[in-house]
Amino acid sequence: MARAVTRQRKMINTAAAWAVGLLIFFPILWTILTSFKPEAQAIADPPIFLGFDWTLENYSVVMERSNYGRFLWNSIVIAGGSTLLGILIAVPAAWSMAFVPSKRTKDILLWMLSTKMLPAVGVLYPIYLLFIQFGILDSKIGLVIVLMLINLPIIVWMLYTYFREIPGEILEAARMDGATLKEEVLYVLTPMAIPGIASTVLLNVILAWNEAFWTLNLTAAKAAPLTAFIASYSSPEGLFYAKLSAASTMAIAPILILGWFSQKQLVSGLTFGAVK
C-alpha cells in the first residue's frame, strides 16, 4: 500500500528539489543567457539576468570568425564515425557472446573491460609516434580509430547486456520453422535488438563527442573538433564572455538534447551492468 503523503510535504519536497535542480543547472542556464547578451552587458556589475538587450550577434561573430562549421563537422565525423565503426565490430562479438557463450566468455568480457582502464596518458607517446609514422596525426580518421578503440569495450558490454535479454527460445522456434541463419538474424534478431543498439549508439556518440584527452593532444588545425575549438578560448583577448558563451552553447546543445533521451541507458551502460 502506498503511503499517504500529505500535500504539505509534497510541496516542501517539490520546492527543495526544484531549488537544488536549478542551482545545479544554473551554470548552463547562465551560459545560454550570456550568449544572447551584448559583450558590454555580459560583464555588467551587478549582473543582468533577463533585462538585457537580446541579440544574436555573438552567434554570427563566432561562426564567421572561427570557421565554427568545420569544427562542428569534425566533431560529427569523429563522434559518428567512431561509434558506427565500433558498432560494426561489436555487434558480431556481442551477439556470439550472448547466444553462444563458452566457458571463457566471462573472462573475455572482463578482459575487454580492463583495456578501458588503461590510463590514456600512459600510452600517449606511443600513440603519438604511431600517428606520425602512419601520417594520421591531426586527421579525422586517426581520431575515429582511437575513439572507437577506447569505447569499444563499453559498446560490446552494452550490446551484450541487451542481447542477453533476448530469449533464446525465440531463435530456436524460428530455427524449427525452417529459418536460415540469415533470416534468423535479419527478421527475428534485428528487430528485437534495435532498441538496444540505438541506446548504445546514443551513449557512445555522447562519450566520443565530449572526449577531451586524445582530441586535444592528437589534433591541430585540420581535424580539431569542438572540444579543441572551445579550448582555444582559454587565452582570450578583449571582451569575450558573450562569444565564449555562444560558442559553448553551440558545442553542448546537440549533446544535451541527445543526453536527455539517453538518461535511462546511462546507468547500466556506464556501470557495465553492475547497477540496474
Binding site: P119, L149, L216, V267
Partner: protein
Amino acid sequence: MATQQSRSAARLMMAPAVVLLLGWMLVPLTMTLYFSFKKYLPLRGGDLGWVGFDNYVRFVTSSSFWPSVMTTLIIVGGVLVITVIFGILLAILLNQPMWGQGVVRILVIAPFFVMPTVSALVWKNMFMDPNFGLLAHLWEFFGATPVEWLSQASLTSIVMIVSWQWLPFATLILLTAIQSLDSEQLEAAEMDGAPATKRFAYITLPHLGRAVTVVILIQTIFLLSIFAEIFVTTGGAFGTKTLTYLIFQRVLESQNVGLGSAGGVYAIILANIVAIFLMRIVGKNLDA
C-alpha cells in the same frame, strides 16, 4: 544447444573485436615499457641508449613527483567525498513524491553532458574570474573581498568544477539503486517507530553500499586521468599538477619520452590496482 560449427562461427565473429583490443593494449604498452628503459629525447639527440631503471628512479625522486601525487589524491578524494555525500542526499530527495520530477531529474543530470573544456572555461571565466565572475559579484554583495579562485584556491576550484561534472553521474546511479529498494521494509520500520535517521542508517544506507562502491571505483578511474579541466584552467600551475598532467608535460612539453614513459608505467599500475576491485564486483554480477 551450441554445436561445434556454431562455436567456431562464434569465435570468428568475436575475432575482430578481440584482435583490435589486444593490439590496442599490447602495442602501445610494449612501446611505453621499451621507452621507459631508454634515455630518449626526440628533440635533443633522440635515442641515447639503455639506462636500466634510471627513469623510474628519476621520476619518483624529482621534486615534482610527490606534490603531484598529493594533488592527485586531493582532487580524486575531494571529488569522491563531495559527489558521494551530495549524490546520496540528492538521490533521496529526488526519490520523494513531488511535482515535475522528470524535469528536475533532467536539470540535475545536464552537467554530465557538458564537454569538459566547456565546463572548465565557463567556470573559469564566468564564475571564478576575480573581476567579472559571478562568484566575485556574490562576494562583493556580502561585502567580502573576491577570491582569486584559480590562483589562491586553485585545488578547491578544480575540485568544485570536477564535482559539478560528476555529481549527476553519482546521483543518477544512486537514485537507480534507491528506486530498487523495497519500500515495504521502510514502511514496516516506520510503523515500528524507527525514526527517520535510523531508517536511513540501517536500511537505506546498507542497501546503497554496492552502488556507492561502484560509483567510487568508476569515478576513480575517470578522475585519475582528468586532463582538460586542468589544461584549460591553470595549465598545471598553482599546485594543480596531477600525476597525469606531470606525465603529459614530461612527454609532450619537455619531450623527455623516457622519463614520461616511466611515469606512464606508474600511472598504469595505479589504475590497475583500482581496476582489480571494480572487476571483482562486475564479475560477480555476471554470474548472477
